[in-house]
Amino acid sequence: MPVLKTRRIAHIDMDAFFASCELSRYPELKGLPVVVGGRSSHAPRIREDGTHAFSRLRDYAGRGVLTTATYEARALGLHSAMPTMHAAKLAPDAILLPVNFELYRHYSRLFKEAIRSISPLVENIGIDEVYADVSMLPGEANEIAQQLKSAVFTATGLTCSVGIAPNKLLAKLCSEMQKPDGITVITLSDIPFRIWPMPAKKINGIGPKASAKLESLEIKTIGQIAAMSEAWLVQHFGNSYGRWLHRVSHGQDDRPVITESVPVSMSRETTFERNLHAVRDKPALSQAFTQLCERVASDLQQKGYTCRKIGIKLRFDDFKTVTRDLTLPAPISDAKSLRLFCGKCLKRIALDKKIRLLGVKASGLVPTDHSVHADAAQFTLDFTVDERGGPGKLDSVLSDILA
């Protein structure tokens, strides 16, 4: 067997993940158009004969969006992130299920454990997708892909699509080529035939703004970007983005598979069932605000982080979104402090319109044990030990500070 000079990266993406989890719970729905995106009130009811009575899309009223649609539902024009009310017009008879994160997290764990049993070098990128560095595994790429798929199927009963390529960029692009339940393997020599004809916006990192700009320059495919010189791209897109476009259009990407991810921020937000008025709905707003802070605080504490920066996000009834943030004098992770400082951010927003969405975000994350030593040179007054009659003691307990 030849020594592998190039890396071999697999991108594994579960097929219609949320819907598939639901289907394995309700097998009678197989083959029907099913969407996930309802509230708990849309949960199936059990009839007297033991069968389930499902809600239909036409039963929905509200402002949620679809999180997933089965391939049968996609055939009717439905897709994830589509407003549910809009979807109900297109396919009123499609089955509607509430979002059940508990269930998806359970399957997600099983899926990721299955991948890890094949290759330990796994990078989490979402609840339903991972990268795995399979460079060191023996065998052809196709065989490895087959192993990964069958491990996932054995563990979860669900199918996934696997792309194997020399780097993460190409692996992600090719896992999509044969969906669902597909395997795609590409090498660098396949780029001109298989990657270049793809639309530019398929690349992770070319968003709506960049692709609009590309289109205004008559560029639609990845190949058309590759045809441009690096200097031309830099001229139009700036130094770093232009050079990055040049690299990715030629299928170059040297990012490693990162097995331990360091989060950049943690946030929680909520869209209200009806728009809230800053004064008249103050109690409801205040309660939602406190709950968001509590949830962010518990996320922080669970993952072992404190944050140096907090921010809030408000969306008004006219969909105008404003954010305000605040850098803190010292890192925090408790709900009370979060609420206090987020409240200060809120004071900087004119509340003259009704509020549709409220969000709280913690960033500037510092692992908890690091933040303790931030100001170690200066001793702290220790209010927990009685000094009277004895010599002063230096503070060793910082928990008091964040109490």
């Binding site: 206090l340 040179a377 001793f379 702290t380 007054l381 030990v385 000094e387």
Partner: protein, 367 residues
């Protein structure tokens, strides 16, 4: 309705109330002052919703007026008018016209009824009296040690604790603590409030250090009120538990020396020029009869100061944030200051010769 007032009469009260008006606020009326004129009296009120200052302008005035006017604009206009000008006010609908000599200003107003007045909380807890001069002296002695924008929000203020016939006042930022107390002419059950930082700074500004006239202090439910002269200040208090200051005030520190305040202050100020800009650290090397102050910065520059002291106890080599030392020395009136230590990892107690009530505790730095 036409109202006449002299510029000088209005200027000082205006200055006194506008201090708390926030420049940027999302509620437009909060940048305004509430102006009330009736029964020959003129009252001005400003608030930021956390505290409120109301005062009576010391003049007889004819006419009636009840409106709100931009605090900053009104102050700027009065300030820039020449001395001795008489200002004429005419209010109509949602506008007010100020005429002074050949100047004329037409300003927008907002209705007085919309002004968010804080009313004094009912259910009085404790009421006591202390002179303006004394209260100002107490506040000045401790306010510099308060925390600023600390996540421990209860430190961003000042503890006022009434216990028996004693009033204790404490400020701390967790690294140093400044404490003083005074005796009241009545006895009370233990009661404490944390005054917000802004209230303390504003109050200190308003108090007259020359005046022996009384300040009536009411500790109310979630509020505190100070009434003195023509001024009433109401403030919310910080809802939190102030740390137990008694626990960090040491009493057994054996290694002590006395030093002239001005001498050590000047030496510290000179040495601080070359102390690390970020950590502000300074080394105190205390040996027989001598105190050395040494500072170095990141560029390896060095300053050294020597002071003669009466000292024959354990030699010490201890580090401090020089700012914490300069702060206290700047705020003490006394000439002889006592430093007391245990060791290089324990707090230092600084006391003043003539004021047995005052105590300053500062934690060292690792050097």
């Amino acid at each position: 309705m036409q109202i006449k007032i002299n510029r000088e009469v209005l200027l000082k009260p205006l200055n006194n109330v506008t201090g708390i008006v926030e420049r940027r606020h999302t509620l437009p009326i909060l940048s305004n002052l509430l102006v009330n004129i009736k029964q020959q009296e003129m009252h001005l009120t400003a608030t930021d919703l956390e505290m409120q200052i109301s005062l009576k302008v010391p003049t007889d005035i004819e006419g009636e007026l009840s409106t709100t006017i931009s605090a900053k604009k009104l102050l700027d206009i009065c300030r820039s008018l020449p001395d001795g000008t008489s200002i004429e006010m005419v209010s109509q609908d949602n506008r007010i016209t100020l005429k002074a000599g050949k100047s004329r200003f037409n300003l927008q107003t907002l209705p007085a009824a919309d002004y968010p007045l804080m009313s004094k909380a009912s259910g009085q807890n404790i009421s006591f009296t202390i002179s303006q001069a004394e209260l100002k002296r107490l506040l000045k002695q401790v306010e510099f040690a308060m925390a600023q924008q600390d996540i421990r929000y209860y430190l961003n203020g000042l503890l006022m604790e009434v216990n028996g016939d004693q009033l204790h006042v404490v400020g701390t930022d967790g690294h140093r603590l400044s404490y003083t107390n005074t005796t009241l002419d009545q006895t009370f059950e233990k009661n404490e409030v944390i005054l917000p930082r802004k209230t303390v700074l504003e109050l200190t500004k308003l108090l007259d250090e020359q005046s022996e006239s009384p300040v009536v202090i009411d500790l109310l439910n979630g509020q505190v009120s100070f009434e003195f002269g023509d001024i009433q200040l109401i403030s919310k208090v910080i809802d939190g538990k102030f740390p137990d200051y008694n626990r960090v005030i040491p009493s057994g520190h054996q290694n002590t020396f006395e030093v002239n305040r001005q001498a050590i202050l000047s030496a510290l100020q000179r040495a601080s020029i070359l102390s690390n800009e970020k950590y502000r650290s300074i080394r105190m090397v205390i040996t027989n009869g001598q105190l050395k102050l040494i500072s170095t910065n990141t560029e390896q520059e060095e300053a050294e100061e020597e002071l003669e002291i009466l000292y024959d106890k354990t030699p010490l080599d201890i580090g401090f944030n020089v700012t914490y030392l300069i702060d206290v020395l700047n705020n003490l009136g006394d000439e002889q200051i006592t430093f007391a230590f245990a060791d290089a990892n324990s707090s230092c107690l600084i006391t003043a010769g003539s004021d047995a009530n005052y105590k300053y505790v500062v934690m060292p730095m690792r050097i």
